[in-house]
């Protein structure tokens, strides 16, 4: 029976090539989007799902408030690990560990100079408890004792092969690995985790090394309750059925017993579930690992379901439009003894064949799409069917779902025809036909609603991105190069030497030393007090460090007073206008010369100049009080800010300049790689996620318009066929081609207008919501809506004109003769 259905389906597809094509293409697009988005979403949602008892594993994190601002730290203070282990009940295992900052790794070999691996990440200090919480497969050594003594190390298999390419795992035991100066002995090899995980550590040095190594002990700060460092992380595995609140209460109790909070600051400790780690943007993971955004993932899911819906709507529309053509077959089959169930099954299986074809096309397309979007798809995602049984399962479910969604209504409708009506050569009863047309119109309106929403959103997001990229942030951002000196080997002296070299390069117009550039993600804040007569004005502010050239490199305007001088002491500083207004709201420029007290706790400083406001962070944030200070620590002058002379179009002066800077760098920092970037590039990176949103939306828009237009074309063919006689009669009565086309297009235009009225308020609301994330934003102009509505109408009329014009210019004699 199935073969019979298949045969008749195939012949039907052959006769209705265009409709079949539209159906398959529409569904393929929706399904491809669904598959790709499934891969992305599945990838992120399976992170660290494989750990045994994962629901009992938590990270202890620190939340704090500082003068009313909330802060989050993924670490805990040094003594917390030991205290939790000894004093808290309800915990099975406590595993503190410490992430080491990019040491160089040396492997002594046969040669005199050991093999060197520069700036290695994912190296931690851990004890045996780490392996009790997170179970690894041991290839050599054992979980019990591998990290018991100081100066021992456990390495994952992948990393071990890098260090000792020729040895077997057993032979690696006892070998020496040196981290900067710390010499360790290999005591175990564990299998590298193959599942999706944020725990990418590959070297585990014994935590007890702090007992013999002072540098390490200093970093761990095991006795300081007041210092919280995100490198010092604490994982716990709770005993079964323990409530998190019970644990949190004990931990906060321990902290309050040991530490007296300073005024205005408060700490609290929380248990962060393992499943939250991959998604919570408040807490960094270990080495700046990618944090996935659930909002983005849900957004993607929405886009996928909309595109799928559009494809299904096309199918329902086109199939029901053709219903009358199949009425005869249905009537005959029923008199031949077919039950309604069998007919429904037949139509559903036809839908199934179409869907299957679309799924096969999608499977072929998916790798290409992944390549196309490689920029914002995590590298671990692939469309390999064999390695991913879940993907196969998803495809099966998707095929069944889509078949049912698009096939069910047409099947019910078609199988419901009474054979007697059909066989008497009467057409399908009028009532059901108009009901049918009504449904088709609603579905088409739905398509236009979705398409127009995407259009409106795309226009607005693009407008906002254009706005933030082109807004004057208060400083110059192009033709500026920033060099970051290597923090391990950095000294001010070396930097001064380097900057002198750089100044001698002809293409450099100005260069200065400083800390972060005027605008950067992340800030460095402190507090100060200004005595306005007797009144104390507390001001929370941002700090930037720079020398006398800093504001000139960035063309930051000096409004009053003078710039910093090389000869100045570090007690004079520049403030921005926002800060000045807090000192003197009416005449901010008179802040020059004022004393600021309790700066950074205890210093007294003097304002020597006021600079114009500029955005210290992306336009998501507003402008806050700011001080520009001369540096007194090495890290204050870790970067060199260079203004380049304009490049002649097509020239490569900058390239030459950068090359010679690289040469000088090698003389001063021979061990480190030359690290530079253009300032405008990093500004653009502020809006990377918005850029991604815009790209995705543009695709969603294009595809949804495309699918809708395909459906529209199908409907236009159907309508014009239905109205052939009417068109013929009208033409005989003297209607012009233009009048006929207008007549045929009116329906489409009215459907779009209805959709427009429905979606505009919703779109306006959604846009408003999205814009809230920007402190500085463009306006939601009326023309965004008009443009998208008009654009949709023009596109739709254009697409259906292929059919309407053809019908309108046809010779009426032909159409009337056949009637």
């Amino acid at each position: 029976m199935f073969r019979n259905y298949f045969k008749i389906a195939m012949r039907g597809f052959g006769r209705q090539k265009l409709f079949t094509f539209i159906n398959v293409v529409g569904l393929s697009i929706g399904i491809s989007a669904a598959v790709v988005i499934y891969l992305i979403v599945h990838f992120d949602f399976t992170f660290d799902k494989f750990h045994k008892d994962g629901d009992r594993i938590y990270r202890i994190v620190t939340n704090y408030t500082y003068s009313g601002n909330a802060g989050f730290n993924s670490g805990v203070c040094g003594p917390m690990g030991g205290a939790v282990k000894n004093q808290v009940t309800g915990i099975e295992v406590v595993a503190p560990f410490f992430t080491l900052g990019q040491p160089d790794v040396f492997i002594p070999g046969n040669t005199a100079v050991p093999v060197r691996f520069k700036n290695q990440e994912n190296i931690i200090l851990a004890d045996g408890n780490y392996f009790k919480i997170f179970e690894y497969k041991w290839l050599a050594g054992s979980a019990q004792h591998a990290l018991d003594a100081p100066n021992q190390v456990v390495i994952t298999s992948d990393q071990a092969k890098k260090y000792f390419p020729t040895l077997s795992y057993d032979q690696m035991i006892g070998k020496i690995v040196t981290y900067d100066t710390l010499k360790t002995t290999v005591t175990g090899i564990v299998q590298t985790i193959k599942e999706n995980t944020d725990f990418n550590f590959h070297d585990f040095i014994s935590y007890s090394t702090n007992q013999t190594n002072k540098t390490i002990a200093d970093q761990l700060q095991l006795t300081k309750w007041g210092a919280t460092n995100s490198e010092s992380q604490l994982f716990v595995k709770l005993s079964p059925k323990t409530k998190t609140a019970h644990i949190e209460k004990q931990i906060n109790g321990i902290f309050n017993k040991n530490y007296k909070e300073r005024a205005g600051v408060s700490h609290s400790y929380h248990l962060q579930p393992l499943s939250d780690m991959h998604f919570n943007e408040n807490y960094y993971n270990f080495f700046d690992d990618r944090i996935a955004s659930k909002t983005t993932l849900y957004g993607l899911l929405t886009i996928a379901s909309f595109l799928l819906l559009l494809g299904c709507i096309n199918f329902v529309n086109l199939t029901t439009a053709q219903a009358t053509q199949r009425a005869k077959e249905i009537g005959i089959r029923k008199t031949m003894g077919s039950s309604r169930k069998q007919l429904i099954l037949q139509f559903l299986s036809e839908t199934f064949f179409i869907t299957l074809a679309a799924v096969i096309i999608s499977i072929a397309l998916t790798p290409l799409i992944l390549k196309l979007f490689a920029d914002f798809i995590a590298p671990g995602i692939n469309a390999n069917l064999l390695g991913q049984p879940n993907l196969i399962l998803f495809l099966v479910i998707l095929t069944v779902m889509v078949s049912l969604l698009s096939g069910f209504y047409p099947a019910i409708l078609l199988s419901g025809y009474k054979p007697i009506m059909v066989l008497k050569n009467q057409s399908v009863p009028n009532s059901s036909k108009s009901h049918n047309a009504y449904l088709r119109k609603s579905l088409t309106i739905t398509q236009f609603i979705i398409a127009q929403f995407f259009i409106m959103a795309t226009i607005l997001v693009s407008k906002q991105i254009y706005y933030v990229m082109h807004k004057d942030m208060g400083f110059k951002k192009d033709a500026i190069l920033i060099i970051s000196a290597p923090w391990k080997n950095l000294t001010i002296k070396k930097n001064r030497l380097l900057i002198d070299y750089i100044r001698s390069i002809p293409q450099v117009s100005l260069a200065g030393l400083g800390g972060p550039p005027p605008s950067e993600d992340g800030n460095n804040s402190t507090e100060s007090t200004y005595m306005d007569g007797k009144k104390e004005v507390k001001i929370e502010l941002d700090e930037k460090y720079g020398d006398e050239n800093y504001i000139n490199v960035y063309h930051i305007k000096l409004l009053a007073g003078r710039n910093l001088r090389a000869s100045d002491s570090t007690s004079g500083f520049l403030i921005n206008e926002t800060y000045a207004r807090l000192i003197n709201p009416q005449y901010p420029l008179e802040a020059v010369g004022k004393q600021i007290e309790k700066f950074n706790g205890d210093k007294t400083m003097q304002v020597i100049g006021v600079v114009g406001d500029f955005n210290q962070m992306s336009l998501h944030e507003s402008i806050t009080p700011l001080a520009i200070l001369k540096g007194n620590q090495t890290y204050n002058y870790a970067r060199i800010h260079i203004a380049l002379k304009p490049e002649i179009a097509g020239g490569n002066e900058w390239k030459t300049a950068i090359a010679s800077m690289g040469t000088y760098w090698k003389q001063i920092y021979p061990d480190d790689d030359f690290d530079y970037r253009f300032f405008d590039d990093s500004i653009a990176k502020f809006y990377a996620s918005e850029q991604h949103t815009a790209t995705l939306l543009a695709w969603a828009t294009g595809l949804s318009i495309f699918i809708s237009c395909l459906g529209l074309l199908g409907l236009a063919i159907y309508t014009t066929n239905q109205r052939t006689k009417e068109i013929g009669v009208r033409k005989v009565l003297g209607a012009s081609v233009a009048q006929i086309v207008t007549l045929l297009s009116t329906e489409v235009v009215s459907l779009i207008l209805i959709a427009f009225l429905v979606i505009t308020p919703i779109a306006w609301w959604a846009m408003n919501k999205w814009m809230q994330s920007f402190a500085d934003r463009t306006t939601i102009s009326w023309w965004i809506f008009v443009l998208s509505g008009a654009g949709m109408i023009i596109t739709a009329v254009f697409v259906s004109s292929f059919q309407t014009v053809k019908a309108a210019i046809a010779n009426p004699v032909k159409s009337l003769r056949s009637e």
């Binding site: 029976m1 019979n4 045969k7 039907g12 006769r15 005959i332 089959r333 008199t335 003894g337 069998q342």
Partner: protein, 225 residues
């Protein structure tokens, strides 16, 4: 075999009933060949459809092979006609997308015959109607007479006891029509198939064993030949 008692079919139009069939009673014995005649609108086709259970009467009693049809549920009714009744239509009503072979096979599929059985039965039927050479053609490639032949073959494939034919020769020329009538007569005499046909043609009606004349939904006359 078939018994209709006081069967009526009407449509309510405003306050009045518009009768298509008005209180018809009819007994049909196995092996009869009945021709129903009458002018357009006299209710011939409606009566045939009621007998074939494609249409339901508004009132009356309907018995078929010992079953009380008017009390049966849709499912049982369809099972009943699937088993006992074959249809032949004026416009042939073959499925355009299927070949001759597949058209004839279709009723068997719906009656759950096994594939091998179907093959044998269809081959037998093609043989009997001498259309083996045409089995892979589509309906559009056949003449009207050939199409109707396929239609009859399809109606007979499952071995019905009762064959209902609604103007089977209406779209055919006289020679083709005569061939079809000869075939009906042969089926009736040799295979014992009970036949009820609706026809406009006096000549074709006389192939039957009884002629029933309808007028305005009533039996006007009944003549045994």
């Amino acid at each position: 075999m078939l018994s209709l008692q006081h069967i009526s079919k009407f449509y309510q139009v405003g306050g009045t009933r518009n009768f298509v069939i008005n209180d018809i009673s009819l007994e049909v014995e196995a092996g009869e060949f009945i021709s129903i005649m009458g002018p357009s609108g006299s209710g011939k086709s409606t009566l045939l459809n009621i007998i074939g259970m494609l249409d339901e009467p508004s009132s009356g009693y309907h018995y078929f092979v010992g079953e009380t049809v008017h009390q049966l549920k849709d499912k049982q009714r369809s099972a009943l006609y699937k088993k006992y009744i074959g249809f032949v239509f004026q416009a042939y009503h073959l499925i355009d997308e299927l070949t001759v072979y597949e058209n004839i096979e279709t009723p068997l599929i719906y009656q759950d015959f096994k594939s091998t059985e179907r093959k044998a039965m269809v081959a037998d039927m093609l043989d009997r109607f001498q259309i083996v050479g045409k089995k892979d053609l589509f309906p559009a490639q056949l003449s009207g007479g050939q199409q109707q032949l396929v239609g009859i073959a399809r109606a007979l494939i499952a071995g019905p006891k009762l064959l209902l034919a609604d103007e089977p020769t209406g779209n055919l020329n006289s020679k083709q029509g005569e061939e079809i009538m000869q075939l009906f007569k042969k089926l009736n005499k040799e295979d014992g198939v009970t036949i009820i046909q609706v026809t406009h043609s006096e000549k074709n009606a006389e192939y039957g064993s009884r002629i029933i004349n309808l007028l305005d939904g009533r039996i006007e006359s009944s003549k045994q030949l």
